[in-house]
């Protein structure tokens, strides 16, 4: 056995005294855990996108049968048929693959793989291939069928490089994909040394979070205008920020803050009786905000008035008893006063991997 001399061990311990003490409160740690679950989905989706891309090359005949190109229809979700009118907002599904090892067996949990998933009005789920990127940080659907995506590409795969904000060989592009999956716009938006995230999009603009704060990015010209400073934000997760009409909603723990987009001034703030707020989505006119959140025992969605902060409706969403996983995958307004939420729950005794579509549920909540 190799013995470690006392003087060497002591010297190593002394050398290991950092100049910065480690300190993070447990609440921050738990919030980080929640954010990590969401990032995990993005990474899994990135791998899935690459696989879909490979599939398109190797089996073009199979994909060419699918109308429209670029989407991969899958089994209908568990919820029933909705109205036939096109929804005001599209319900893209963002959320985790969650897996764990079962001793002596394979993995169990939920996977969300195969491209960017979207629940359609009839409850079916389609998956969109995102071409030309290794993965993506966010994707938002426009009413005309287009997708706005922030994708990243390693330009020098397999090449070791210097880590850090100035890492070389990394491209971060904003893409607009047409309904048929073809690329309408690709624009490099990376600023070396800075992070960038896509948190929302509409017909003319993508909404990005950079170190300076929330910005609108004109899709036609690339011009960027500030909306909110970084101090008003709690992160860069698209599920915690939304922009619509003259409103910007920001989730901060169990607090919902609404700002006027035109002035950047906080308009209202509401507190939720929650353990974890999962996602916020503003109505198309920005007058209502739907927030999905967890309590100790329940998953709920509530609709808030963005002028007053008052609750207009709250519903409990059914989950399996004592779930191991409860995840909200998307919220979208089907009309100006009706909002649809999609979620999945998995029991603790699950003994296999479930594809998201097997577990996905949805419910529509209307307010007067």
């Amino acid at each position: 056995m190799t013995l470690i001399p006392d003087n060497v061990a002591e010297a190593v311990r002394n050398a290991a005294t950092p100049s910065i003490a480690y300190s993070v409160d447990l609440q921050s740690l738990r919030r980080r855990a929640a954010r990590r679950r969401r990032r995990h989905q993005a990474a899994a989706a990135a791998c899935a996108a690459a696989l879909v891309g490979v599939g398109a090359v190797t089996i073009p005949a199979a994909l060419s049968k699918e109308p429209p190109a670029g989407t991969l229809p899958v089994a209908p979700a568990a919820d029933g048929v909705q109205g036939q009118r096109p929804p005001a907002q599209r319900l893209l599904l963002h959320g985790g693959g969650h897996t764990w090892e079962i001793p002596g067996k394979s993995k169990a949990g939920i996977t969300n793989s195969g491209g960017q998933a979207e629940m359609r009005a009839d409850g079916s789920v389609v998956r969109h291939a995102i071409p030309g990127v290794d993965g993506w940080y966010g994707a938002f659907g426009l009413a005309d069928g287009e997708l706005v995506v922030l994708g990243h590409t390693d330009l020098r795969p397999g090449t070791a490089g210097e880590d850090g904000p100035d890492v070389a060989g990394l491209s971060i592009e904003l893409k607009v994909l047409r309904a048929d999956g073809s690329v309408e716009l690709t624009r490099e938006v990376r600023v070396k040394g800075e992070g960038v995230s896509l948190v929302a999009a509409d017909r003319g603009s993508a909404y990005l979070v950079r170190p300076s704060g929330l910005l609108s990015h004109d899709l036609a010209t690339g011009r960027e205008e500030p909306i909110l400073p970084a101090a008003a934000l709690t992160g860069a997760d698209g599920r915690l920020i939304d922009v619509s009409g003259n409103a910007v909603a920001v989730l901060d723990g169990c607090q919902v803050r609404v700002f006027a987009r035109s002035t950047g001034q906080q308009r209202t703030q509401a507190s939720l009786p929650c353990t974890d707020a999962a996602q916020v989505r503003l109505s198309p006119d920005g007058r209502l905000a739907a927030v999905a959140y967890r309590t100790r025992d329940e998953l709920r969605i509530t609709v808030l008035d963005t002028e007053t902060g008052a609750s207009r409706a709250t519903r409990t969403l059914p989950t399996v008893p004592q779930p191991a996983i409860v995840e909200v995958y998307g919220i979208a307004w089907t009309e100006s006063t009706s909002v649809r939420v999609a979620w999945a729950s998995l029991p603790r005794d699950a003994d296999r991997l479930y594809q998201l579509e097997e577990l996905l549920k949805s419910q529509t909540v209307s307010v007067q």
Partner: protein, 169 residues
Amino acid sequence: MRTAERDIVATGLDVESFDEFYRAYSERIYRALALTLGNETLAKEATDEALSRAYARWGEVRALDNPAGWAYRVGLNWATSWWRKVRRERPAPATGNEPVVAGPDPTAVAVRTALDLLPLGQRTVVVCRVLLDLSITDTAAVLKVSEGTVKSRLSRGLDSLRAALTEEE
């Protein structure tokens, strides 16, 4: 019941057990990662990430032989992975609250320099054995290498550190 407690109870975990683990090992894991990575800011972020993963999977992690070793490895993998390179596009915000402390003594600087010059494999073994107090067997399990590899890396790493100490004296 506090919010965090409710959250953990809802997922069937043991909040007291995780809190105890956090209090007992978070600083040690951070020190180990800081020494291994040679970058305290990155080490802090890696520690945050590792502990958040431990929290999220505490039901499984607490059953492991060495949860601290697991967290160290998770933090190390995260900090050195390609995905981390992409994630690091988002720089950590400066808090401005970092304490001002005295610099390390010359011997510590010499050892730290010697550690920085060690190949990563040797450095991780030294850190696991000295800072995390892992046995040869546990170190091998945490780093997923053979015990023979641990012994040889440790031996070479210690030789370099002894030489650095001798020069300093």
